[in-house]
Symmetry: C2
Subunit: 216 residues, 2 copies
């Protein structure tokens, strides 16, 4: 749209592709084996690149990991924005829950990396938690508190409501192995994802006494 973009040269294009390939492959490996368990060699092999090439684009393993985590955080931000503070509880929370379920389905590896990171004390993302996440959380707590004061929902502790939404939705990504095992060894299909989303949304919204738009 805006400026006069130089026509992407062959070099630039390849660079972009290689970077994306490495990041995607690394994400899977970090998700499946953890930071220490994932090896540069294994990532390189799967990406069909020599290991030295990885170090050309990402000087250290930690730097590669950082960028993987950063990508994930942006996805999280994307979902965060869908929590519309202007909407009514049913719409704001419903949309947010649905969005989080979609992310659990479309970015299971990212979710696992994030979970791993938090479980192990969040050494890398600690700053995000203290700044961006905390601000977002505080602002939503305010909104939820207002809803409760206005009688639109029960007077629940907003913090625990948010934790419930986070844990329940992310569970479908983070614990996918357990879930598919209990699902006869196969992952959820479209219908099952839809049902999970509906079920989670319904229980939570009813659980906090949301006044539904369509009482039937």
């Amino acid at each position: 749209m805006g400026g006069a973009n130089k026509p992407t040269s062959k070099r630039e294009g390849m660079r972009r592709e290689t970077l994306a390939l490495i990041l995607a492959t690394a994400e899977r490996h970090f998700a499946d084996h953890g930071f220490k368990g994932a090896t540069m060699q294994a990532i390189a092999d799967e990406a069909k690149l020599p290991k030295a090439n990885l170090h050309y684009y990402f000087p250290t393993k930690l730097e590669l990991y950082r960028q993987v985590v950063e990508r994930i955080f942006n996805i999280w931000l994307d979902a965060a924005e869908s929590f519309d503070t202007q909407a009514n509880p049913e719409q704001a929370l419903g949309t947010y829950i649905r969005k989080k379920m979609e992310i659990s389905r479309s970015h299971p590896y990212g979710s696992k990396v994030w979970a791993n990171e938090v479980i192990h004390g969040a050494p890398i993302i600690h700053d995000y938690l203290e700044t961006t996440l905390r601000e977002w959380t505080d602002s939503r707590i305010e909104v939820i508190t207002r809803w409760a004061a206005e009688g639109l929902i029960d007077p629940v502790n907003p913090r625990h409501l948010l934790y419930m939404i986070w844990s329940t939705t992310q569970h479908y990504a983070d614990f996918s192995h357990q879930i598919s095992t209990l699902n006869g060894g196969v992952p959820f299909n479209d219908a099952q994802w839809a049902q999970a989303t509906e079920c989670v949304t319904n229980i939570i919204l009813k659980g906090i006494g949301v006044k539904r738009g369509d009482p039937g």
Copy 2:
């Protein structure tokens, strides 16, 4: 009680103590760093034992890890039993949720190790998932289905209800770093744990339309 127990010799006592010390220390390290990230040397150092001594009691790192996981599974079984299939929904689910919250508080490291294991594809516990966990889950699904049929709760999908209970309660252990960060950097105190438990129980029970024993 039973047979004629030989009076525990000094040897036996020391052995028990050492085993317990190693297992407890290892649990923390596996929780904080993952299987690969935890090192025998670090575990030995914290337990103030020479590394070779660890290998005397646990021939390999994998064997040590297995026994850590096994202990955790027994704790899980303990909670599982508290889901009384004879009781009414409010009591059965309420007791179960409360028990799980207690475990999240008393065994945060164990919960983290378990989460880690599942996130990474459950290589060690896969058998448990397919046998014990599946059987338990199936039996509870039956009970919940019956409750729904009898009109004691809404016709929710029992599977998702169980997932919600698991994820919500375990979240307080697995994501404790995130939670304490959002709690001003300090872990929950007694009152906060009590409120979390109550809040989670209330939302879930109300969310599935449990007919409460005491309607007020």
